[in-house]
Every structure is written in C-alpha cells, then in structure tokens.
C-alpha cells in the first residue's frame, strides 16, 4: 500500500502521466457502466455544430462519429490525425487544394439506416455554410473550404479556396458530428433537441440539467469497441461535489481538469485507488490592454506592463496552487510551430533577467510620463485560474510602481464589458478545442479581422504576416512566419501577452483504463476505448 502511494505521489510530483507497461492482464475487459461528471450545467442545445461549451460535447460526443479525429491512442500529439469514418487519411492533391475521403461501408446510424458519404457531406456543409437561421459555431475555422462534393455513396471531396496547414486540424474538430442527411433535409434544427448518431453509444435518456445516459452500440464499426456496457454523465458544476464524488466513488472521474490541491488531496486519501493523468492544456490567460483607452494607446506603456511580469518564476510558483504550468508564447508549447525557450526570452514578458526587465519597464513608463500609473484590470469570477493569475499579476505590476485593482465580474458582464470596449486592461483566455496553431493565433488579429479580439488595435503588418502564414503549407516556413507574427504581437506592437499556459490535471479512479489525456478537454471524448478493470 505504502509503495503504491509512493508511486502515485512520485507520478504527481514529476508532473507526468504514469503509464505502466502493457501486460497480458491489461487486455481490455468488457462490461460495466462508467459514471463521470460534467463540471458544468447542461448546455443550451444538444447540437454540437451550434454550441461552444464543453458541457455539450462531454454529454453528446459518445453518440456520434466524426470524419477525422486526433488519434485516440496518441491524443497528446498535436499532429497525429486518424480516420474515424474515412478509410484512410488522404494525401492532398491539386497543390493542396483537394482532399478526397473514402467513407467506410456498412456503418449504420442508431436508427438502423446506413451512413453514407452524403450524410458526411451534408453535415459538413451545415458546418461550413449553414443556411439562414441555422447557427454554426465554427464557421470561421473552415473559411478555407470552397466546396464539398459527394459524387457517390463512399466519396467525399473537400475543395479548398487556398492550401493551408490549418485545414486538417479544423477537419478533426471534435464537435463536427456526422448527422443524418435524411433528418437534416427535413429539419435543420432537429439535432438541437434530439440525439441520433452512429457513435459507440446509443442514446438512452437525458434528464434535463441532471444526467445523460448511453448504452453500448453493438453495431459500432470499430470492431471490439466500445468496451463499456454504457455510461452515465452527471452534471456537477460545484468542484467540492465532484471531489467528494470521486472520493466516495459515486463517479469515476471528470474530463475537464482539477486544481493541484485536489489532486494531492485525492492521492493522499485514496492512494492506489486513484491515478493521475496530466498534460499541458491548449488554454491560456491573455493580458489585453485596450488600445483605445489612454494611456494604453502608447506602446511604451503596454510594453512596460509586459516587462514587469516574471513569467518563469511566476509559473513555477503558481503551478502549486492553480492549474497553470508552462511558460509559452502565443502557440501551444508542444506544437511544431511553438517558440523555444531561447526564442521566447527575446520577447518582453519573458526576459530571463527580471531585474533588467523591470528596470526597462520603469524607464519606458518614465519616458511615457506614466510613472504613477494606476488602472483597473477586468477579470472573470472564475477562481481557477483567472482570479489566481489576476491576483499574481497585480503583485507583479506593483513591482514597477503600477497600482492595479481587479474588477472581478461574472462571465456575462465580463464578456459584455470587453465587447463594449468598456475596460482598460482585461485578463481573458484563449481556449481552443483543437491544437490548430495557425487558426488559434488568429485571435490576436485586430478586432476588424477577428471579432473576439478586444485589444482594439490596428496593425496592418501583423495582419499581412498572418495572411501569409495562413496560406503557407510548409511547416518550417510557417514556423518562421509564426515567430515574426508572435514578435509583432508581443514585442513590436505589444498588443497582447500570453500569461502562462494552463495545465490539465485529471485524478481518475484506477479501475478506469484505456483512456489517455490530451491537451484539450474537448478531445478524445467518445469513450470508445475506455474499459473498467473491476
């Protein structure tokens, strides 16, 4: 017992996923019902194409198939895409403008009707160019798609307007459920209130605001899967409830992420009955000065704020109390397009010598006539990690003599204030479902080009760099362009600063096997590969 606790604690302290080598008795077992919690209230509708909250995805992903997905056996990779409904990953033709997918034969929807290429094409057309009155939350991510063709029952062709690296990650978006063409033809809104897919689990029941239940789909096309007889997903927005429920085994896990203190508490109390999976998270806080408010219209003032922050030591301290860990630039740290530590250390907010950095910050403030600067920082009333990171930033700014007060408000007013430009500096977040570096960094573009950028800046150089990068298909060249774009965003324009990437910590009951953590709480959620060692 003591040894197992030691192993569990070591795994945690090293911040690594402890994965024992595969053994013969680790072969998946069939049966059982997985009970897990969704750390939110129920989402607005049940339509994945329409909604953005993970609550919808965690409740409905097990019922649906997608065309392409991140490899469920290697979800930590940001580039390992595999087929779900297609038979093999296509090589692009026509200079990267055409992708032809062959669709599996013999796949059936849960109502028994066959799934064909026409269902795939119709579902994707709904996502790419929804008809009037139908919402598509990720329409902006697939702007490169020109046409989708379905010449026969087993072929779907995507024709692009321009070749880009961001197409395949956009195609692997986990919300891109494949719906029945027959149903969509009759009612484009049907999936907002109903569930009927072709995924590993069939829909059993939905108790409004409380739980979703699914049972094994015996006709699932990935042979042998799913291993579970069924699942129950319970909506549990309060963290204390979720921790107690894992402790008492009312539920085996949640899929979003818990803070380090709860991980340590559960490991201490449950020993070898709990395993912990951890990963860098494709989410991070972003410090956004409003360029339309004085004195933040002055690049020197903005840069001074960035230079005041000691990200390296801050991240090391914050990771003990908040779900943050890795210092990174605007690109997810493990991505091929991400900056190295040496590259980052050239940028304000990342200098290795913090005293030198803060001296420069004071000089810039003096030069701008803002030695007695004070302002209010808008923040969201979510402890992990917004309020914790915000409180740390207030302290960092005080070290260059800047007085900051936090205005902490609920999500609605927080979004409203940013959209109205009614703030001076805001702490916001960049949280994306797929690691799609080019698409993800589009959020740093000026407001005119990206409606959810609230820095309200204007930077044609930055926009031109992004456009060039969006049309680049060579990874090495895209990486060079990304460095220029990053430097323009953080250094030259000092528009916004990424402040520590989040860290995903999942304490899971040890009997849950087969599932692997990914850098996003939106990925690998169909539960097909989970089995229970009970």
């Amino acid at each position: 017992m003591r040894m197992s606790r030691l192993i569990a604690c070591l795994g945690v302290s090293l911040g690594a996923v402890w994965a024992p080598p595969a053994r013969a008795d680790d072969a998946p077992k069939r049966g059982g019902t997985l009970t897990y919690m969704i750390p939110a209230d129920g989402g607005p509708s049940l339509d994945g194409h329409r909604e953005t909250t993970f609550a919808v995805l965690h409740a409905t992903a097990p019922f649906y198939s997608v065309l392409v997905r991140i490899n469920p056996d290697n979800p930590a990779s940001t580039t390992d895409f595999v087929c779900d409904l297609c038979t093999e990953m296509p090589a692009p033709t026509d200079q990267g403008l055409t992708y032809t997918f062959k669709i599996r034969e013999g796949v059936k929807f849960h109502d028994g009707t066959p799934l064909t290429a026409h269902d795939v094409a119709t579902s994707w057309r709904k996502i790419v160019s929804p008809p009037k009155g139908v919402a598509s939350a990720r329409e902006n991510n697939v702007v490169m798609v020109d046409k989708i063709e379905d010449p026969d029952d087993t072929t779907v062709i995507f024709r692009l307007k321009f070749a880009t690296l961001s197409f395949m990650p956009a195609l692997a978006d986990p919300y891109s459920f494949i719906y029945s063409k027959k149903i969509l033809d009759q009612d484009m809104h049907w999936y907002e209130k109903n569930i009927m897919g072709s995924g590993p689990f069939k829909f059993e029941s939905y108790d409004i605001g409380q739980s979703v239940k699914g049972v094994r789909n015996p006709d699932y096309y990935h042979k042998g899967q799913p291993y579970l007889d069924g699942f129950t997903a319970i909506f549990a927005p309060k963290q204390a409830v979720r921790i107690d429920a894992i402790r008492a085994d009312r539920a085996a896990m949640e899929f979003r992420g818990l803070p380090p203190s709860t991980r340590d508490q559960l490991v201490k109390e449950l020993g070898d009955k709990i395993t912990v999976q951890e990963s860098d998270w494709n989410c991070g806080n972003v410090l956004t000065p409003n360029h339309k408010k004085k004195p933040f219209d002055d690049v020197r003032v903005r840069k001074a704020l960035f230079l005041a922050i000691d990200q390296w030591r801050g991240a090391a301290a914050l990771q003990k109390i908040a779900n943050v860990r890795t210092v990174g630039g605007i690109v997810f740290p493990s991505s091929p397009l991400a900056a190295t530590k040496e590259e980052l250390q050239q940028l304000p907010g990342y200098w290795p010598d913090i005293e030198k950095s803060r001296a420069e910050a004071r000089r810039l403030l003096k030069e701008a006539g803002q030695e007695n600067l004070s302002f209010e920082m808008l923040n969201r009333n979510v402890d992990q990690p917004y309020v914790i990171v915000g409180t740390w930033l207030v302290d960092e700014f005080s070290k260059i003599g800047v007085k900051v007060t936090q205005k902490i408000v609920p999500t609605g007013p927080w979004l409203e204030a940013m959209r109205a430009g009614d703030f001076t500096v805001a702490l916001e977040a960049n949280c994306q479902n797929m690691v799609n570096p080019v698409a993800d960094t589009g959020r740093y573009l000026p407001h005119e080009l990206y409606s959810e950028n609230f820095a309200y800046h204007d930077d044609p150089v930055q926009a031109a760099l992004y456009d060039k990068m969006l049309h680049e298909t060579d990874v090495a060249k895209a990486r060079v362009l990304m460095r220029e774009y990053e430097r323009q965003t953080i250094d030259v324009g000092a528009h916004q600063l990424m402040v520590t990437w989040w860290y995903r910590i999942l304490p899971i009951r040890s009997y849950v096997k087969g599932w692997k953590i990914s850098p996003s709480h939106y990925l690998n959620q169909d539960l097909a590969n989970i089995w229970l060692d009970k």
Partner: protein
C-alpha cells in the same frame, strides 16, 4: 366578509403586475447579453452577424415595451414562453426540477415540525430552566448556522465517518431518482439536505412556538381552565398549544413557500437538480424568460400564501374584516 375577500383578491392583481414590471426591468439592467454568453463563453470566435441572428431568434430585437407587453400577456394566459438558453418550454424546465425541490421542502418541513413544536412547547413550559436554555442554544445555533455550510460539513462528516468505519468513504448519490423508482436511493439523497435545511427551519419555528406558548399560557382563559381544575395535560394540549400554533402555522407556510426555489446554495452543495439551482443558471445565462417565470412563480406562491393567511386571519378574528 365577501367584500373583504373580494378586496383582498383584487389586490393580488396590481401586486403581480408590479412584480412583473420590476423583474422585467431589473433583468434588463444587468449588464450582459445571453447571445454573447452563449456564443462566446466557449472561447471560440463568432461572426458578429450571429449575435444579430440570435437576438432576432430570441425576440430581443423588438422594443422593450413590446417585449414587456408580450411577457405580461403570456403570464395572463399562463404561457411563460420558451427558455432563451435551451429553447425548451419554461414549464418543461421548471417541472423537471420541481419534484426534487418539492420533496426537500416537504421533508424539511416534516423535520422542522417534529423538532420545533415539541421542543418549543417544552422550552416555554420549562421557562428559565436548564432545559429551556439548552433548547434556546440549539435554536440560536440553527438560526446562526447557514444551511449550506452545515451541508458541506455534514457531507464531509459522513465521508470521514464511513471511511473510518468501513474503509470506503460513502456519500449520498449525486443524481436524483424519483421515490417511486428507487425509494432507498431517493431517500438517501434527500435525507441530508432535508435535515440541514430542516434544522434552520426548525430553529425559527421553535422560537416562534416558545414565545407564542409563553404568551398564551398567561392568558385569562388558561387561568380560568386551571381554576376549573382541569389537569395540566389537557390545558396544554387542548387550550394552550392549539392557540399558540396559529402564528407557527403561518410561519411554517411562509417558510415552505420560500423553500420552493429558495434553496439556491443548498441545492448546489448537494448537486440537487432543483428549482433553486435552475434559478442560478437562469441568472448566470441571462435567460430573461426563464428568470422572469421563476421570479413570478415565487412571487405568486408568496402572494397566494399571504392571501390565504389574510383570509384565515379574517375568518378567525372578526376585528380584522371589520377594520
């Protein structure tokens, strides 16, 4: 009497209209927009045209006056509309949550009555003895302790005690099953919230019972009953307690009405999918129609409870109806 009843019933109408206007205006004064929350809280980007389309879909592009008239007219026809968040009828949303809130309210009332009336009466009858002091301390403890805190502590206590005894921590289920489907699972979920809410409820009622009993016990008719030689048990049960319970029953009624929708934090602590939790969600999501319907439901319950109480008082005390 009939004129009095008619007057009281007619007074309900302006009260409800006033409450409707107030909740309608207050909801629109809160900064934020359900469409922005819905489209933007997931972190992704969205086309600004999507906001306009969302406003049109939800009828928010109409003038505030038109929206208000629509809301009041719907309320008059008992048509509360559809939730702006889920698109489901508001009645479906509320009815899905009502059973658990109702069950907790009933169980908490049972707990409160079982504790409050005997202890309150004993406390009054044994005034200024150690028993009275103990009951008063128990009552003040109940009033001073927030139910949600008691809930958190009770869950932790159950977890720790069961862990120490059996080696495996236990806690009540976190998903609701109707009592007719699985009574044991249902009651094991409802028991702790009922006790924690019932304790505070009992404490308030206990103090009311005590003071009412003390007052009644000093009345002339009690003295007369004693002079007639009636035994103490009969005096207390037949003459004192019955009369002392009138304000207590009123209090219990009002408290019961409060529990339907008022257990905002307790429902969150125990993960109960009740009306209180729905209230919080509706406000957080800025779901105007659902919040308005929930507030109006609460207001209606209170107004009707007050109406019944007023009528009951008039029936019992002629001085009120002739005043």
């Amino acid at each position: 009497m009939y004129r009095y009843v008619l007057k009281r019933v007619l007074l309900v109408i302006p009260t409800l209209v006033g409450a409707a206007a107030l909740v309608f205006l207050l909801m629109r004064l809160i900064p934020g927009d359900i469409c922005v929350v819905r489209l933007g809280s997931g972190g992704g980007s969205f086309d600004p045209r999507a906001i306009a389309a969302c406003h049109a879909e939800l009828g928010m592009d109409r003038s505030v006056v038109v929206q208000f008239i629509d809301f009041v007219w719907g309320f008059c026809r008992l048509d509360f509309g559809t939730s702006m968040w889920s698109g489901k009828p508001v009645t479906t949303e509320i009815l899905a949550r009502l059973p658990i809130s109702l069950e907790i309210a009933v169980l908490a009332t049972v707990v409160a009555i079982s504790i409050a009336i005997p202890l309150g009466a004993i406390s009054a009858l044994k005034q200024n003895t150690w028993l009275d002091v103990a009951v008063r301390v128990f009552a003040i403890g109940g009033i001073a302790t927030p139910s949600f805190w008691l809930g958190i502590v009770s869950i932790l206590l159950v977890l720790d005690v069961t862990s120490a005894i059996t080696g495996a921590p236990w806690m009540p289920p976190i998903d609701y099953v109707p009592i007719w489907q699985d009574p044991i699972r249902n009651l094991s979920m409802a028991f702790l919230p009922a006790v924690t809410v019932g304790y505070r409820y009992a404490a308030v009622s206990m103090r009311m019972t005590r003071s009412a009993m003390l007052e009644v016990m000093r009345e002339d008719y009690i003295r007369t009953a004693r002079a007639k030689g009636l035994i103490n048990k009969l005096i207390i049960n037949r003459h004192a307690l019955k009369n002392a319970l009138l304000p207590v029953v009123t209090l219990i009624g009002i408290e019961f009405a409060f529990l339907i929708g008022g257990l905002v934090v307790t429902e969150q602590v125990f993960n109960l999918n009740g009306v209180g939790r729905l209230f919080v969600q509706a406000v957080q999501n800025q779901d105007y129609t659902l919040t308005q319907a929930l507030v109006m439901l609460t207001v209606t319950v209170f107004v009707l409870t007050n109406l019944v109480v007023d009528l009951l008082y008039a029936w019992l005390d002629p001085r009120i109806r002739f005043a």
